[in-house]
Subunit: 337 residues, 2 copies
């Protein structure tokens, strides 16, 4: 139905319809009534404009993705999109870079798009109540929790794995297979984020295996990109000897395996590699990456379930912890003493 159809139906000109719709005074009351009646007949929508002023709601759910090009997020994004769609809401996607402030981005998106709720895919682990004050709609932290912050557990929702415990499992897989000179490739040991948590798991696994921590074996990339992972692995090779590397993310592990090969080390003959995340492509590296696979579809589904329970008033904030599954690839070998 266009303005032209309305004009035809009422037997008036298009500009007359336009004047009515823009509340111009120079239209007779009879014509105005006729046009508005035709508009109503053509396309009934409930007049919620007054109510909307008080509860500026829409049918939109926001998804703020922190970390563009993070392969691991792709299937989670898809799961969130599908779950939001199936529930009859509209997904508004906003991607930001790893260094950007997801809460600021979320608050601004919530305002401009009048969101009903938010899924934050990737974010900081150290929120304070002040940080989240600007977010006055329900939100779910997806793939992370507030491990380093002061925000109370009752003030936000989350769905994630236990990063420290899963990293512990990955490193224990290496110690069980006889490795003791185990390097770690991560973003940072004290970024108050996923990297620090997985680093703690690494440290705890070493301690529980009676291995003392050697700082030379800790390679910090300062970023999650492939190029930095490659560079830092090359430096690690120049710096010290090791028989295995625990890499905190699959994509970084692909780059690390390349760096090991370019540095003259065969995987797994000269060096074993294990990671966490599980992206489809790491099943096709040479050798296949041994990794702990996160339940990506479930992470997305669960995030939307928690969020809509809040949006629709069925439940309050809650926290769900999911588990990884070991994919035994070909990148870890057993050391024979």
């Amino acid at each position: 139905m266009t303005i032209r159809d309305i004009a035809r139906r009422c037997g008036v000109s298009v500009s007359t319809v336009s004047r009515v719709l823009n509340n111009h005074p120079d239209v007779s009351e009879a014509v105005r009534e006729r046009v508005l009646e035709a508009v109503r007949e053509a396309h009934y929508v409930p007049n919620n404009s007054a109510r909307d002023l008080v509860r500026p709601q829409s049918d939109s759910i926001g998804l703020v993705v922190r970390g563009i090009g993070n392969l691991f997020f792709s299937p989670v994004i898809h799961a969130v999109e599908q779950a939001v769609d199936e529930a009859g809401y509209t997904l508004v996607l906003h991607q930001i870079r790893s260094g950007e402030d997801e809460l600021q981005a979320a608050a601004s998106l919530a305002r401009s798009k009048r969101l009903r709720g938010l899924v934050l895919l990737g974010g900081c682990f150290d929120y304070t109540p002040e940080d989240t004050a600007a977010l006055d709609i329900p939100f779910v932290c997806c793939t992370y929790t507030n491990s380093f912050g002061t925000l109370g557990r009752e003030s936000y929702s989350s769905v994630s794995i236990d990063d420290q415990a899963e990293a512990y499992q990955a490193v224990r897989e290496l110690t069980r297979r006889g490795h003791r000179r185990i390097a770690v490739l991560l973003d940072s040991v004290n970024d108050h984020s996923i990297s620090e948590l997985r680093y703690k798991g690494y440290c705890r696994a070493l301690a529980d295996s009676g291995i003392s921590l050697d700082p030379a074996l800790v390679a910090e990339t300062g970023a999650f990109d492939l190029a930095s992972a490659y560079e830092e692995t090359r430096k690690l090779l120049e710096r010290t000897d090791f028989t295995a590397v625990f890499v905190i993310a699959d994509s970084m592990a692909v780059a690390a395996m390349k760096a090991l090969r370019d540095g003259g080390k065969r995987v797994p003959e000269d060096c074993s590699v294990i990671a966490i995340d599980g992206v489809e492509l790491s099943a096709y590296t040479i050798p296949t990456l041994t990794t702990l696979i996160q339940p990506t579809g479930e992470l997305g589904d669960e995030a939307v379930r928690i969020l809509l329970d809040m949006v629709e008033g069925r439940a309050g904030n809650r926290h769900v912890q999911l588990h990884t599954t070991l994919r035994p690839g070909g990148s870890v070998r057993t050391l024979t003493p």
Copy 2:
């Protein structure tokens, strides 16, 4: 501003405010006026509801992505999202699987979200005017054109590479280096899509090099997924001999390289591999994949530029063709006769 604030400001109960906003009859006219006045003061928004009935416009631009988990699309999605955002519009993302109907998805999204325009990222190459009739808003085909259809060039916009010409270049790179037994790994030779176009480029390059086509060298996966690419490469190895493979997409090439290795062939010593697309990860395969890199950022930027020129009435439909850049990796070797 909540319904509670309005109630407090007017000195009435929350349920009274609710009754006013829901047009219940059991409220005195004086109270009704007071509440509506408070609502108006609290939050003025222009009343466009009547106009919206006739011109159902929003600030939303749709992005229908056909092919979930297509790594090559990630940087294009990001570019589109950023360009749409910078122009002050809202991006509504909808992802569908490769086999699904993007026009149906687009038409339904356009209706339900009252879109101003659409970017179709990935789609069929054989539209008829009837196919696109349901799309009454501007749309841009991103990464493809209507090479096999009857839809006139003036009826749609596109930004893409010349798939046939680029495939021709890739295969000529192999013939220049002395290869004559060149296999091709693709989705289908007659899918009326990117695969068929790139296959035509392969055929033309062989013909121009005086090489006759051997059907045994043509491996059809019937899909773009890694698992099928792996399987078909294994079958190809069992079926015939060849010194090189042209793979129509980087991600499939990663799986093909794995299949070659698992089948006892070293890349590039025993078999060369070249592809088209350029995804970040293929720079970290062992060896680095030699590929023709598509200008992903430019594809996204240009799609939004073309679309907004139409949405904002500055220009009509147009077609832009971009070019790839050869990334010389380590997966192609020169045969010495």
